[in-house]
C-alpha cells in the first residue's frame, strides 16, 4: 500500500486525490493546504488526515508525495520533499523565475530522489502512441510536426497576471511534448504572438494567440499553435509528418454519435474544456509515477525535462517580444550538474 502525502487541495489536488482513491494499491494519508477549509473538505471526502503544517506531512509515515499547490510554493516544496528522499510528483511549473528553477533543480538532483514533473499530456493515449510509433522508426524520420492547443476560454485576468505569460503557462506543455517526441532539442525558436481574444490580456502584458516554430538540428521543423479561446470547445491535436508515414493524434469528438440531415453529417465537437479532454491523463500519470516508485521503467517527465521546456518558454517569449528567432540557452543545463 503506497501512502500519499498531498500538498494542495484545490482543483488539481482534488483530481489527484480522486485518482488515488480509485486505486487499490494506494491511499491518501495526509493533506496540507494553507487554506484549511480546502484541506478539511478533501480530507473528509477521502478519509485522509489534515496536516497542520508542511513539516507535518514530511514527518508523516508516507511513501510518496504529490505537489499540487500554488505555483509560488513549488520550488520550496520540491527542496523540502526531495531532502526526505520520498518520491515526488510535482505539478508544473517548478518556478516562474529561471534562476530559481535552476537552483531548485540543482539541489533536488543532488538528493537523487525520484521526482516526476506533471507534464501530464505525455500520458494521453494517442499522444503516447504517436510518440512510440515515431520512436519505433516505422514512420521513418520526423520531418515536420504540428502541435495545436486551443481554448476553450481564457483564465481570469487575475490569473494571467501571475501566470508567467502564455509561453510559460500554456505552451510549455507543448515544448515538452515536441522535444519528447522528436527526441532532440531545438537549436532555434521563433515565436509570433498576438492579442486577439481580449485586450485586457495585452494590458496585462501577455498574448493570447501564438505560434512558435522550432528548428531542430536534424532539419525537422516543428510548429506549435496555441490560442486561449475557441468557440467550439477544447482543440488539441498533434500531427507528425515523417518520411514514411503521417501520424495524427486527432481532434477527438466528445462522443461518437452522428446525426445526418439536410444540415450535413454532424458529429459532436471536441470536449468542452481541457480538463475534460485530459482527465484520463492524470490517472495514467499516477500509474506511471507508481510504477516508477516500484522501480519499474521510468515514464513521465523529469525535473531536467522541466528545465528544458522552461528554457524554451523563455526563448519563445524573447522571440515574440523582439520579433527575432532566438537560440535557447541550453548551456544553462550545465549549471544543473557539477
Amino acid at each position: 500500500m503506497i501512502r500519499f502525502g498531498l500538498f494542495g487541495a484545490g482543483f488539481i489536488g482534488s483530481a489527484h486525490a480522486r485518482n488515488i482513491g480509485q486505486r487499490d494499491d494506494c491511499q491518501l494519508a495526509t493533506i496540507f493546504d494553507p487554506v484549511a477549509d480546502g484541506a478539511i473538505r478533501l480530507a473528509n471526502e477521502t478519509g485522509a488526515r489534515v496536516a497542520p503544517t508542511i513539516q507535518d506531512v514530511l514527518n508523516h509515515d508516507i511513501d510518496a508525495i504529490i505537489i499540487a499547490s500554488s505555483t509560488p510554493s513549488h520550488a520550496d516544496l520540491l527542496r523540502a520533499t526531495t531532502r526526505t528522499g520520498i518520491p515526488v510528483l510535482c505539478e508544473k511549473p517548478i518556478h516562474l523565475d529561471m534562476d530559481e528553477v535552476l537552483g531548485t533543480v540543482r539541489e533536488c538532483l543532488k538528493t537523487q530522489t525520484l521526482v516526476k514533473l506533471g507534464f501530464n499530456r505525455r500520458f494521453d493515449p494517442e499522444h503516447a502512441m504517436l510518440k512510440d510509433h515515431v520512436a519505433s522508426g516505422r514512420a521513418g524520420i520526423l520531418e515536420t510536426m504540428s502541435l495545436i492547443s486551443r481554448g476553450p476560454t481564457p483564465p481570469p485576468i487575475s490569473y494571467i497576471k501571475t501566470s508567467g505569460g502564455f509561453f510559460r503557462d500554456t505552451m510549455i506543455h507543448f515544448f515538452d511534448l515536441a522535444c519528447w517526441i522528436a527526441d532532440e532539442l531545438p537549436q532555434e525558436i521563433y515565436a509570433l504572438g498576438s492579442c486577439m481574444v481580449d485586450p485586457n490580456i495585452a494590458k496585462a502584458g501577455d498574448v493570447d494567440t501564438a505560434i512558435a516554430v522550432l528548428k531542430m538540428p536534424s532539419g525537422a521543423l516543428i510548429t506549435i499553435d496555441n490560442s486561449r479561446r475557441t468557440d467550439y470547445g477544447y482543440d488539441e491535436r498533434i500531427e507528425a509528418f515523417c518520411s514514411k508515414q503521417l501520424i495524427q493524434s486527432s481532434l477527438q469528438p466528445r462522443h461518437h454519435l452522428m446525426i445526418t440531415s439536410k444540415q450535413g453529417r454532424l458529429s459532436a465537437g471536441p470536449h468542452a474544456g481541457w480538463f475534460e479532454r485530459m482527465e484520463p491523463t492524470y490517472k495514467a500519470e499516477l500509474e506511471g509515477f507508481i510504477r516508477g516508485i516500484k522501480g519499474k521503467t521510468g515514464v513521465g517527465a523529469s525535473l531536467v525535462d522541466g528545465v528544458r521546456a522552461q528554457l524554451l518558454a523563455e526563448a519563445a517569449e524573447k522571440s515574440q517580444q523582439t520579433g527575432q528567432p532566438v537560440r535557447p540557452e541550453w548551456e544553462k543545463l550545465e549549471l544543473l550538474v557539477s
Partner: protein, 338 residues
C-alpha cells in the same frame, strides 16, 4: 464573347481545352511555336492553328486569349494580347524573374487588374467554400490560418536549378491562398527550410521542407507548411481559425471506400494522385469564372497584381531563409529593408 485563342499546346493547354469545352466556349485558334503541337491540338478541337502569337492575339474571331506556355514567354504574350484589346487569362507565374513581373505590371498600368491570373486553387470547391465562409463571418474574425501543401514526390533533379526554388515554384500557390483568405497583406514573414527529403536537392541549393510564418498588422497569424514528398499522396489542406469557430478544407478522397479487417481498417484511397486530379474541377470553374467575367465586363477575381504580390512573398521567403531572419513587408508585399 467566348471565342478563344489558346496560346500553348502543352499539358496545361489540354487541361484548359477540356474546361473550355465544358463551358461551351468556342476555341477559334491554337498557337504554339512548335507547329506540330499546335496542329495536333487544333485537329482534335476543330480550331485553326498558328505558330505566330501576333496572328493569334489579333484574330478578329477571338474575344479572349488564354496563355499556357512556358513562363518565360508570359510577359510578352500578356502585353501583346492586351495591346490587341483582348481579354487575357494567363498561367502563373507572370515571369520567372520578379523584375520582369514588376515590369509587366508597370506596363499594364490599370489594365493589370483586368488580366486574369490562373491561381486555380481559389476555385476548388472546398477552398472557395472556406473562403466564402470566412468572408461571411461564419467563424468570426479570422485569427490563424494554416495551409498544408505536400507533393507526393519532388520534381526531377534537373528541373530544380531552373525552378526558382521551392518558394517560387511550389509555395507560390499557398502565398496567393494566404493573401486571399487573410484579406490583409502580411507585414512580417519568416521562412525556415531544410533539405531532409533528398540531400541531392540540398546540393542544388534548394530545400524540400519549409515552414513560413506570416503576421498581419491586425495580428492575424499564418503558417504555410510545404513538403516536396508525402509518400502517402498529395496532401492539400487549409485551416482557418477564428473567434467564432474553425473551417477546414480537407483533402477530397479518390473514392469513399472504407475497409475494416483484422489486417487493417480505414480508407485505402484518401488522396487523389496529384494536382490535375485533386484540382481537376477547379480548372473548369476557373475558366467558367473567367468567361463570365469577360462576358459581363466584371472585375477579374484574381489578377496580375495578385500574381505580382505572391511573387514578392516568394521572394521575401527566399531572402528570409538565406538571411535566417524575419523580414518586414510593405503593402505591396515587398520587403522593406532597414
Amino acid at each position: 464573347m467566348n471565342r478563344i485563342a489558346l496560346v500553348g499546346a502543352g499539358r496545361m493547354a489540354k487541361v484548359h481545352v477540356l474546361a473550355l469545352r465544358a463551358a461551351g466556349a468556342h476555341l477559334t485558334i491554337v498557337c504554339d511555336i512548335i507547329e506540330e503541337a499546335a496542329k495536333k491540338l487544333a485537329l482534335e478541337t476543330g480550331a485553326r492553328f498558328t505558330t505566330s502569337i501576333d496572328e493569334a492575339v489579333s484574330h478578329p474571331d477571338v474575344d479572349a486569349v488564354i496563355i499556357a506556355t512556358p513562363s518565360d514567354t508570359h510577359v510578352e504574350y500578356i502585353l501583346k494580347a492586351v495591346a490587341a484589346g483582348k481579354a487575357v487569362m494567363c498561367e502563373k507565374p507572370i515571369a520567372p524573374a520578379l523584375s520582369d513581373a514588376q515590369r509587366c505590371v508597370d506596363e499594364l498600368g490599370d489594365k493589370a487588374e483586368q488580366v486574369f491570373l490562373a491561381f486555380n486553387r481559389r476555385f476548388d470547391a472546398g477552398h472557395s467554400t472556406l473562403k466564402r465562409g470566412v468572408k461571411a463571418g461564419e467563424i468570426g474574425a479570422l485569427e490563424q490560418l494554416t495551409i498544408t501543401s505536400r507533393d507526393p514526390f519532388p520534381p526531377p533533379l534537373d528541373y530544380i536549378p531552373r525552378s526558382g526554388g521551392l518558394f517560387r515554384d511550389m509555395m507560390i500557390h499557398d502565398f496567393d491562398m494566404a493573401r486571399w483568405i487573410l484579406d490583409e497583406e502580411p507585414v512580417r514573414l519568416f521562412a525556415e527550410g531544410s533539405s531532409i527529403v533528398d540531400p541531392e536537392i540540398g546540393k542544388l541549393g534548394d530545400i524540400d521542407t519549409a515552414v513560413v510564418t506570416m503576421l498581419t498588422a491586425s495580428g492575424k497569424q499564418a503558417v504555410i507548411l510545404n513538403s516536396r514528398r508525402a509518400v502517402y499522396g498529395y496532401d492539400q489542406r487549409v485551416e482557418a481559425f477564428g473567434a467564432k469557430g474553425m473551417l477546414l478544407s480537407d483533402n477530397a478522397p479518390r473514392n469513399g471506400v472504407r475497409k475494416y479487417s483484422s489486417a487493417l481498417s480505414g480508407a485505402p484511397e484518401p488522396f487523389r494522385a496529384f494536382f490535375l486530379e485533386r484540382y481537376g474541377e477547379s480548372y473548369r470553374i476557373e475558366i467558367e469564372t473567367f468567361l463570365n467575367c469577360v462576358a459581363g465586363g466584371l472585375p477579374m477575381p484574381v489578377n496580375a497584381l495578385d500574381g505580382l504580390r505572391a511573387a514578392y512573398l516568394a521572394e521575401a521567403a527566399t531572402d528570409s531563409l538565406k538571411l535566417g531572419s524575419p523580414l518586414a513587408l510593405n503593402q505591396d508585399c515587398k520587403v522593406t529593408w532597414k
